[in-house]
């Protein structure tokens, strides 16, 4: 092969560049390190809250000698440094784009933390927790001692199990834990038993989207437990008069509609409306038709599935938060975890909320205790809703049927339910909880301690 001739000037330029390059890498690299250091020292650049992860980021640790000696002080500085790094969200979302290049196909985020069990048949002779020698002082309801519940919100916000993302749609895995389900049923049975003659108790197990909107072909292969069986197990175990509301069949009938979010684990207001209609049917009420509500859009919404996965297909195609403004007037007062009370709207305009916070539109979102009064009604029944966040979307519809609706978020509320129901002459007690929450021992444990 003949040696190619290059122009002399070109060769000279190349040689110059090569010589220069020797100091380029050290220069550039140290520049990056130093810039990183300087940026990381500009405290205002550091975020303190993550919208999508819905949590306060780590804060700079307080100094103490014991923390210093144990090493936790330095460890916490490390955590703070990495957790609140400047441009955090941008870096994380860039990284998740990079990580989507790792392969192909439907994306799996986390395998189930529980072996999938087949849901057993409920035995009809199941004893309620109250009867089975539970240590809780169930009869001494007059003596209201505050149970010692750590006031920490972080450990009760539901952490999602495995998530499957097909295209731009997330689905949460569901697993069944018999012991926890039994505990949950025990609570409802005890409530129904103690409130016999006072209130009707209804139990609604809300299925999550995987068993409703996912195509049957795909669903077949997936190792997530059958939520219709979870609901059946719970419903079949109700033996003290609590009534079940078959939401599964109802939502399956509307599965082609926008009943669940794609980027969030919750149902939409529309899904909650259908559940409300089913509840009315079960309870013998006439549901208000959806046309009477004014349909409004509060803009794009990227929920928990996006927060957990940073999936770029979801980001490209966010959900839309649609709310239905009721034709009736109402007043709502909620008490937050600090014990402060606020007046709020039943359906709040969240157009200006951060994109990840849109689900907060409904019924003042997650507060320990909320009272709603229907101002368009002179008289009417009273209702108590015991719920986690799934219940929120349904409450605006429920208010139309009642004069007063009390809402207890059992994850934060710390007083007794039964006494409360008796004192306030509650007609209907509604347990609205999703199938996944029922498998979580921490959550159900919360409910158990308030149930006396």
């Amino acid at each position: 092969m003949k040696k190619k001739k290059y122009p002399k000037r070109f060769i000279k330029g190349v040689k110059k560049y090569i010589k220069l390059s020797k100091s380029l890498l050290p220069g550039l690299f140290f520049l990056c390190l130093t810039l990183g250091m300087l940026f990381s020292l500009i405290i205002p650049l550091r975020p303190t809250y993550s919208e999508f992860e819905k949590r306060e980021l780590a804060s700079f640790p307080k100094f103490s000698v014991s923390a210093l000696v144990s090493g936790s002080y330095f460890k916490d500085i490390d955590t703070w440094f990495a957790d609140t790094f400047p441009f955090r969200e941008r870096l994380i979302s860039a990284n998740s784009k990079l990580s989507e290049l790792r392969g192909v196909g439907d994306k799996i985020y986390g395998l189930n933390d529980m072996a999938v069990q087949t849901v057993p048949q409920a035995s009809s002779e199941k004893t309620t927790e109250a009867e089975s020698g539970n240590k809780e002082p169930s009869e001494t309801t007059e003596k209201q001692t505050e149970p010692t519940v750590p006031d920490q919100i972080n450990d009760v916000t539901q952490t999602l199990g495995g998530i499957l993302v097909i295209g731009d749609t997330g689905y949460e895995y569901c697993s069944f834990h018999q012991g926890v389900a039994d505990k949950y049923v025990g609570i409802i049975n005890k409530t129904a038993q103690q409130l016999k003659g006072v209130s009707n108790v209804y139990c609604m197990v809300v299925p999550t989207s995987m068993d409703i909107t996912m195509s049957d072909n795909v669903r077949k292969g997936i190792n997530s437990c059958d939520q219709s069986e979870v609901a059946k197990y719970i419903y079949d175990s109700l033996n003290t008069g609590a009534k079940s509301v078959d939401l599964y069949t109802q939502l399956r009938m509307h599965r082609d509609e926008y009943v669940y979010f794609r980027t969030d684990h919750h149902w939409t207001a529309l899904g909650a409306y259908y559940a409300y209609a089913k509840f009315c049917e079960t309870a013998g009420y006439k549901p208000m038709s959806l046309e009477k509500y004014e349909k409004v859009s509060y803009g794009d919404f990227l929920g928990s599935f996006y927060g957990d996965t940073n999936n770029s297909a979801m980001k490209k195609n966010p959900d839309e938060l649609i709310a239905y403004l009721p034709p009736y007037k109402s007043s709502l007062t909620f008490t937050n975890t600090q014990g402060k009370s606020f007046n709020w709207e039943l359906v709040h305009d969240v157009s200006n909320y951060p994109i990840s916070e849109k689900y907060n539109s409904f019924a003042g979102s997650d507060n320990p205790f909320t009272v709603i009064e229907n101002l368009s009604k002179e008289k009417g029944k009273t209702c108590l809703v015991i719920k986690e966040s799934f219940g929120n979307a349904m409450i605006p519809f429920l208010v139309g049927k009642y004069k007063k609706v009390y809402v207890i978020d059992y994850r934060y509320y710390k007083k007794g339910i039964i006494t409360f129901a008796k004192q306030n002459k509650i007609d209907d007690v509604l347990f609205i909880n999703n199938a996944s929450a029922v498998r979580s021992d921490t959550l159900i444990e919360r409910m158990r301690v308030i149930d006396y």
Partner: protein, 490 residues
């Protein structure tokens, strides 16, 4: 603090380098290094930093005693024994006492509370470094250091103090008192560091995350109360998932550990230290013997020089050789952790090493390279199963599951999705465990000699790749909670 930590990269490292290069002479530079090293160690172990200092001091004094008593062999030997007793004594107390007492309790059935002693970070590494120093002084291979700060610097230097390589004093003693660096060396060091960081943050962490997903994380497995639950989970994992998970673990453990050595060697090079290589693409080996000459070389040579050869090596007949090998491999296993599975893991290799010495080695040499290569990979692969689970119940379950004996099926929707999700990543990680990238670099270098376009490209990629690796690694470390350092436990 670990190297793949944002606080290290964007605070400790730039500050230490600035201080280092601002320091005028070697004395000042060494003081800077020592201060930063002690700070680095204290950051992770504010209490145990004093053990490090005390141990270094004891060995410093005893090495001097040996030096003084060169002619009085008895006294010198006594000093040596004293040093070995101090070093191994501390190692035993902090690393093995809990394990030993636990076993005593199990065997004798005695009733007493076994105290839990936390393992000081890096104690296995710096103890071995100090041991080698004293023994080398005793053997007359190196002079005892008269300045304590140098001994302390040698033991505590943050480059290698907490996860190796196990640097020998005789390899760095000259560079401790006099070393030079230039732009070329700095560039090389930076590249090496960036490659290590990328290997760790972009590859090893991902491998680890996937392995943990399938095989459960160490912290989850450590909860004794969850034993039944974990066992049920592992039993339910489909065979493909287990094979994939162990493969990911196999890649993780190499990428993670060699990345740490890369970063240590790179940082050394930036300031004029030349540490010996610790890994030489071990998964390319064709026999177990070769594997152990290419895997964690500084540990292998330590046991060779300070245990195997003093015991007589292979000079005292076959039976004695095999016994010596047994001792070395039981200790190698035990060095990795105070748990029986590590001892078994070491002895597992011992069996194959003996077989290779007896007859297998000859056959492997004659066999086609592919066959001997697969032989080695299969042995190492299953070795990691033993290495992964401290509880042998899990080992059995996973091994059975890999062959579908847990009624667990071949695959599931989730496992297939997991494999597909990471199929390109798997290829990249495998390539990273082979010298392919190194060969491509060499090829580019040689083409650059004759082709100026290639030369420009080559020079440019040498600048861009390390910087890109730094940026990508930063991205993956922000807000990422998964960032373990496997070799901390050793």
């Amino acid at each position: 603090m670990v190297f793949s930590n944002l606080f290290f990269i964007y605070m400790f490292l730039p500050l230490s380098l600035i201080a280092y290069f601002l320091a005028k002479d070697i004395k000042a530079k060494n003081i800077v290094l020592l201060c930063f090293s002690l700070f680095f160690y204290a950051w992770g172990e504010p209490k145990y930093v004093f053990i490090l200092i005390a141990e270094a001091f004891a060995d410093y004094v005893l090495a001097l005693a040996i030096e003084k008593n060169r002619k009085d062999k008895k006294k010198a030997k006594l000093a040596l024994i004293g040093a070995v007793a101090v070093d191994l004594g501390l190692l035993c107390i902090f690393k093995y006492l809990t394990f030993i007492l636990g076993n005593v309790k199990n065997i004798t059935g005695a009733q007493f509370e076994v105290m839990q002693i936390a393992l000081p970070i890096g104690i296995s590494f710096y103890t071995f470094q100090l041991l080698s120093y004293v023994v080398d002084v005793y053997r007359g291979e190196v002079e005892a250091q008269k300045d304590f700060t140098y001994v302390l610097l040698y033991a505590s230097l943050f480059h290698q103090c907490i996860a190796g390589p196990i640097v020998r004093y005789q390899d760095v003693c000259r560079e401790i008192v006099s070393r030079k660096t230039d732009l070329n060396q700095i560039s090389k060091g930076i590249t090496r560091f960036a490659v290590g960081l990328g290997k760790k943050a972009l590859l090893a962490n991902v491998c680890g995350e996937i392995a943990d997903m399938v095989l459960l994380s160490d912290s989850a497995l450590a909860v004794a109360a969850d034993y039944e639950k974990n066992l049920a989970l592992l039993q339910s994992r489909p065979a493909l998932g287990l094979w994939f998970g162990v493969l990911m673990y196999m890649l993780q453990i190499y990428l993670d550990f060699s990345a740490y050595s890369d970063m240590a060697i790179g940082m050394g090079q930036m300031i004029g230290f030349h540490y010996k290589e610790n890994f030489d693409y071990p998964y390319m080996s064709k026999s177990v013997g070769e594997f152990w000459r290419r895997w964690h070389m500084s540990l292998g040579s330590f046991f060779r020089d300070y245990v195997y050869i003093p015991l007589g090596g292979n000079r005292k007949g076959m039976a004695r050789t095999i016994f010596n090998m047994f001792v070395v491999w039981a200790l190698t296993g035990l060095w990795h952790g105070a748990s029986w599975n590590f001892v078994l893991w070491g002895l597992y290799f011992f069996v194959f090493l003996v077989l290779e010495r007896l007859f297998l080695g000859e056959k492997l040499k004659k066999a086609p390279p592919a066959v001997s290569h697969i032989y080695l990979l299969v042995i190492v692969y299953f070795g990691w199963v033993l290495f992964r689970f401290r509880n042998l119940g899990f080992v059995g379950t996973v091994l059975k599951g890999m062959f579908g004996l847990n009624a667990n099926g071949f695959t599931s929707f989730e496992i297939s999705a997991l494999v597909k999700n990471n199929i390109f990543f798997l290829i990249v990680a495998i390539i990273a465990a082979t010298p392919v990238v190194k060969y491509v670099g060499k090829l580019l270098n040689s083409v650059s000699k004759t082709n100026p376009y290639a030369a420009v490209f080559n020079v440019t990629r040498k600048i861009i790749v390390p910087v890109a690796l730094l940026i990508l690694s930063t991205m993956s470390l922000v807000g990422d909670s998964y960032n373990p350092f496997l070799y901390f436990q050793f």
